[in-house]
């Protein structure tokens, strides 16, 4: 039963991704991408990661895709679409992507998966106390990366303001 659910959600995610990369209309591409992000968020919930699922919906499907929509609307969808001319590149790209997929799938299918460590968190705890556990990890083991992240966001904010100013180049 859960396997059927997984297959359906995975199929929706793949359909979203496929139509995103093949879309002619940029607005449609953004909306397909939102579909993909939403279905991946559902997969996160089934993997007992409700906090990450929430962040996925709020940050990815919310903030990031809205930013894309802003740019598409601001610049004008009509002006952003154009005829893409690629010579024999499309065939090569497809062949190389399939090769990469085969390599990845081979490594992931035939690789040896280690069993959980002795100090593993129980699955019930992972789901029920997810935000507390993730938060305490962030403020203990991952304190330094967490603080560096805040500096990174500040830099990104300043950079975006500078780049988006009228008189630049």
């Amino acid at each position: 039963m859960t396997l059927i659910f997984f297959v359906i959600v995975a199929a929706i995610a793949l359909v979203g991704a496929f139509f995103m990369i093949t879309a002619r209309n940029l607005m449609h591409a953004v909306l397909w991408m939102v579909l993909n992000f939403a279905s991946v968020a559902i997969l996160y919930i089934t993997l007992s990661a409700p906090f990450v699922a929430m962040v996925q919906v709020a940050v990815y499907a919310g903030a990031i895709m809205v930013l894309f929509l802003f740019v598409v609307m601001l610049l004008g969808e009509r002006q952003l679409t154009f005829q893409e001319h690629l010579a024999g590149q499309r065939v090569w790209a497809g062949a190389l992507s399939v090769l990469l997929l085969a390599l990845l799938a081979g490594a992931l299918l035939f690789g040896v998966y280690a069993a959980p460590a002795a100090n593993a968190v129980s699955v019930e705890q992972m789901g029920a106390q997810n935000p507390q556990l993730v938060g305490s990890l962030l403020y203990t083991d991952y304190l330094l990366p967490f603080e560096i992240t805040s500096v990174l966001l500040l830099i990104a904010m300043v950079g975006a303001v500078v780049l988006a100013k009228r008189r630049l180049l």
């Binding site: 859960t2 995103m20 962040v55 590149q89 790209a93 992931l108 959980p116």
Partner: protein, 106 residues
Amino acid sequence: MPDAGMPAPIQAYAILSALLFCMGVLGVLVRRNIIIVFMSIELMLNAGNLLFVAFARYQQNLSGQVVVFFVMTVAAAEVAIGLALVMALFRTKRTTDVDDVSMLRG
């Protein structure tokens, strides 16, 4: 399988993640519209995140979810800068075709 409660075998998540990643690679390779290329990069990051969360569940170790949190932060910063660059590019060259922006090529 050490944990019978997983909704699907870990290999299924791994294959789904590989498929999504390869779609992202394909999108970067075959499209010339800079916004689609950008979204394909997001797709690849998302595939990596999915694998992180799947393995966090499989190993019953929450560090994977913390890493996803960091990846999302970096992706948000990257999108903010990248879209500002797209805006600047469009204002100066009136194009979003990556082939039109090859001035640095020797």
